[in-house]
């Protein structure tokens, strides 16, 4: 298992704590159950599977792996390439 720090809306946190208390389980277990249930919903599962397939394809193809590989930068870099020839 991996450690994860998240922020939750106060009201949601309150409700989840109440549920955890009623079942006599830790809040973390409540969150795990909720996450598992969410990720098993057909529409969510379809999205996850689609993303997994895309990730696999990107990992295999070095050209696709270049998408956004340098992260944020100037917004006009692609239209000002010729600036490199200026003083």
């Amino acid at each position: 298992m991996k450690r994860l720090q998240v922020y939750l809306p106060e009201e949601l946190l309150y409700d989840l704590r109440l549920y955890a208390k009623s079942r006599n389980i830790p809040l973390a277990e409540t969150l795990r159950q909720a996450g598992k249930e969410f990720s098993h919903k057909p529409i969510i599962k379809r999205t996850i599977n689609r993303m997994k397939a895309k990730k696999k394809m990107v990992e295999k193809d070095p050209i696709l792996a270049m998408a956004g590989m340098l992260g944020p930068g100037p917004t006009d870099a692609s239209i000002t390439v010729d600036d490199i020839y200026d003083d």
């Binding site: 070095p62 696709l64 792996a65 270049m66 340098l70 992260g71």
Partner: protein
């Protein structure tokens, strides 16, 4: 002879693809992920020079090196062909530039792109550089 679906990729297309905040990033990404770019892809040594110089100037040496290594990786995995430029290509590029009187913004690299595309029968150029629209090259189509 090279496959008719081959695409030559200009510096502007690479830069918009790898920089997430670039104005053309989404457009470039859609094209790179399209079927059209599953075909043979070409660049030249001059495109590497131009792209690396621009990235070095805007994002620093670390990013420039990372990009260079990725070009080499793509070449090793046979997803990209890096074309060399010899003196003959430069001679032909100069002749092409002479047809477009200065001042204009055509560069020697732009002209070598056209010459290489003619030499290797590459029909499609992927570029966001509007200058190419003014090149009167036969059988040249420009993406996007």
């Amino acid at each position: 002879m090279i496959d008719h679906k081959s695409v030559f990729i200009d510096s502007s297309a690479w830069i918009s693809y790898i920089v997430t905040t670039d104005i053309n990033h989404n457009k470039a990404t859609n094209i790179f992920f399209s079927q059209q770019l599953k075909s043979a892809l070409f660049i030249s040594i001059f495109i590497i020079s131009e792209t690396i110089t621009k990235i070095r100037k805007t994002l620093g040496q670390k990013s420039a090196t990372m990009l260079y290594r990725q070009f080499l990786k793509a070449e090793r995995k046979k997803r990209l062909t890096i074309l060399s430029i010899d003196r003959k290509i430069i001679e032909e590029a100069i002749l092409l530039l002479q047809k477009y009187p200065t001042p204009n913004t055509f560069s020697l690299t732009d002209a070598t792109n056209i010459i290489l595309m003619q030499k290797y029968n590459i029909p499609v150029l992927f570029s966001f550089d509007r200058d190419f629209k003014r090149f009167k090259a036969r059988h040249l189509s420009i993406l996007p």
